[in-house]
Amino acid sequence: MSARLAPSDPSGAGADRRPATPHPVAVAGAVAAFAVAGLLHLVVAPEHLHEVPLLGIGMVLTAVVQLAAATAAVRSGRPWPVLAVGALVTVAAIAFYALTRTVDLPLMPGGHAHDGAAMSASVPGAVGDGVPRLPGSRTEGVGLLDAVCVAAELVAVVAASALLPGRVGALVARTSLVAALAVVAWRVLLG
């Protein structure tokens, strides 16, 4: 992504205007990056739906939003609300990705063969849940698809910001900052 930089404009002048002539690189970047991220989420969604349905549903929704954003970026007239939602959802996805690879999250599968399968109920006479939750078992490892996906998402966020009206683009940036700080704080306090 090679967005051209504008000087900081704390007054917000011109913040409501959309870029008159969007840079073709920004358009191409947004389309390609949203599409890659959305498709990768679709690819891994079934596995997650099986393991943790909530996570799988989240993946499907993220994919739908990202693919819609890719479509919006390429369309003439560029419906910026769709692009904005795509960028904000993608910021959330990046933050969630960072958390899942950094700390144990309660909703993540515990790395046990029987997680999510209500297996304790299949042990005759069992009282309670016999599936251990080991420290670190709810922290996902980084895989190739993950890395490609998050790289695409970062490109998508920057490219979308370049295509959005100034104030909305700034909102995406501020959201990114808040998300980054939240992730770091979570790691420091709970990791």
């Binding site: 504008a6 900081s8 670190g136 922290t139 683009g169 700034a170």
Partner: protein, 524 residues
């Protein structure tokens, strides 16, 4: 384009967090963040070797000894100076040793007084006690789904008709065997017989059990179980009889060491620092036909090897270190190559029972089954699929879903079969345990078995990309028994299946036919 530097910096911060934090987690896994540093571990050989106490029966009658064993939480010092919680039989790890005599039955009441949930790992610690090496009835074999909840007990009956051997009792509860055994639920059960008693092998204080485990701890002493990519859990502390890197003072004579690898994943290859030879006198199924001298040998989880070591040629004051040359596919740490030390002293000793006869047990049943008697060969593929460990595509979950009916083999009573165990992967090893039976290792990748595998076995090491053939006779029993990988992480996830010894004339007892009872318990 209205992306200013400040906005770009904000997004770059998110990108930095998304790259740096997972990278940090990869380099310093979450599970290990509170690990006791290697620099904080004690100097090796600072604690004397302890020997688990022998459990006294609560009563005896004409043909049976009765024991009561309570599983409970306690604390111990595996690492000297660091108090650690432990779950032990009678609150100690290893648990107390049960001594049994061939021909006298044992009834052991195992009472689960463990906490309702594990304080760190959050699971309900039901148990199932398996007497490993015993030809027990299915309902007394520690069937993984035949569980005892906290607040319950079960009376296990052990027949003790087999030849003398070193057995061990350990947890086998579904879903968390690895965690329960790691917490300490393992102990020795020594069965003797007239033949063993008649041999001049070392006895009494010169017959020493060595229960080897590996551990990892947090800085405050809490056990830390780090499962590496689902393949296993390897600790950075090696303990013998519950003490890290202990030392034993030995007199200048022969000792018999009964070595049990009770680690949940780690395999070892033993050798002495000065090349002292070891004479293998017994394996899982007891005395071997004739002894074999080795300088080193491989030992996977749950196997038992008994070796006689002669310290008579050592100088008083000499220290001999038992080392571990790690077999492939273990995770090793700075100190896992060292196990324990033997300090030779010049104290007087009795000269009786200080020999290894050239012939020990030529009639060893498992070693006398002719290969030509095999009726068929069955092939068992141990593999990994979608993150699950499987045997011929089957998991314990499949057995459960079949109403506990699904079996991978159904030999008839007194059938002899060759079982071909196949590890298709070069990425890991499997110690394969077949319940109820003893077997003979026929070959390993088409070559003869290792020299130390010279006796009857119930666990066999299946190395990376290896095919091992074993010869089994299914005699003196019937019913469904488990077979599984004794890397307990693999077993829990879910490399366990079952077979059935079929006797058309006599129905077999169901493994779930004698469920546990709630406390309070009546008279034993």
């Amino acid at each position: 384009m209205p992306v200013n530097r400040r906005d770009l910096l904000s997004m770059a911060l998110l990108g930095g967090a998304a790259v740096a934090l997972p990278l940090e987690a990869s380099l310093r896994p979450v599970a290990l963040r509170h690990r006791l540093a290697a620099s904080a571990l004690p100097a090796p050989f600072s604690a004397p070797l302890g020997v688990p106490p022998v459990l006294a029966p609560v009563r005896q009658d004409a043909d049976t000894d009765y024991y009561r064993v309570t599983m409970r939480e306690s604390t111990t010092e595996v690492v000297p100076g660091l108090r650690s919680p432990v779950w032990g039989y009678e609150g100690i790890a290893p648990g107390p040793t049960i001594r049994a005599v061939q021909g006298r039955k044992v009834v052991a009441r195992f009472v689960n007084e463990l906490p309702a949930t594990h304080p760190q790992w959050g699971y309900a610690p039901w148990t199932s006690v398996h007497l490993h090496g015993s030809a027990s009835l299915p309902q007394h074999d520690g069937y993984a789904s035949d569980i005892t909840n906290p607040g319950q007990y079960k009376d296990y009956r052990y027949p003790n008709w087999q030849p003398a051997r070193t057995l061990w009792y350990h947890d086998h509860g579904a879903h968390h065997t690895a965690e329960n055994v790691y917490m300490g639920l393992a102990g020795l059960y020594l069965l003797t017989d007239p033949l063993e008693q008649s041999l001049p092998l070392p006895k009494g204080e010169f017959d020493v059990p060595l229960v080897v485990t590996d551990h990892m701890f947090t800085t405050d002493g809490v056990p830390l179980l780090n499962i590496v990519e689902g393949k296993g859990a390897w600790g950075d502390v090696v303990a013998v009889n519950g003490r890290a890197w202990p030392v034993l003072r030995v007199k200048r004579r022969k000792y018999r060491f009964r070595i049990l690898n009770a680690s949940i994943s780690r395999s070892y290859r033993w050798s002495f620092s000065d090349g002292t030879p070891m004479t293998v006198v017994a394996t899982d199924a007891g005395l071997v036909p004739s002894p074999t001298v080795v300088r080193d040998f491989r030992h996977s989880s749950a196997e038992r090897y008994e070796v006689v070591v002669d310290f008579s040629r050592h100088r008083p004051g000499q220290r001999v270190v038992l080392r571990n040359i790690s077999p492939p596919k273990n995770v090793d740490y700075a100190r896992t190559g060292t196990v324990m030390a033997f300090d030779v002293v010049d104290d007087p000793f009795p000269t009786t029972d200080n020999a290894v006869p050239d012939v020990l047990f030529p009639e060893q049943p498992a070693m006398n089954v002719p290969e030509g008697a095999a009726l068929r060969t069955r092939r068992f593929r141990l593999h990994r699929q979608n993150g699950l460990w499987k045997i011929n595509g089957t998991t314990w979950d499949d057995v459960v879903r079949s109403g506990f009916r699904k079996v991978l083999a159904d030999p008839r009573l007194d059938d002899v079969e060759v079982w071909e165990l196949v590890n298709e992967s070069g990425g890991w090893f499997h110690p394969v345990h077949i319940h109820f039976v003893d077997f003979r290792v026929l070959s390993r990748n088409g070559l003869p078995p290792a020299p130390h595998e010279c006796g009857g076995k119930d666990v066999v090491y299946l190395g990376p990309a290896e095919t091992v053939r074993v010869l089994v006779k299914f005699e003196r029993g019937r019913g469904r028994y488990m077979m599984h990988c004794h890397n307990l992480v693999h077993e829990d996830h879910d490399m366990m299946a079952q077979f059935e010894i079929v006797d058309p004339a006599v129905p077999a007892p169901d493994p779930l036919s004698e469920p546990s009872s709630w406390l309070p318990a009546g008279e034993l």
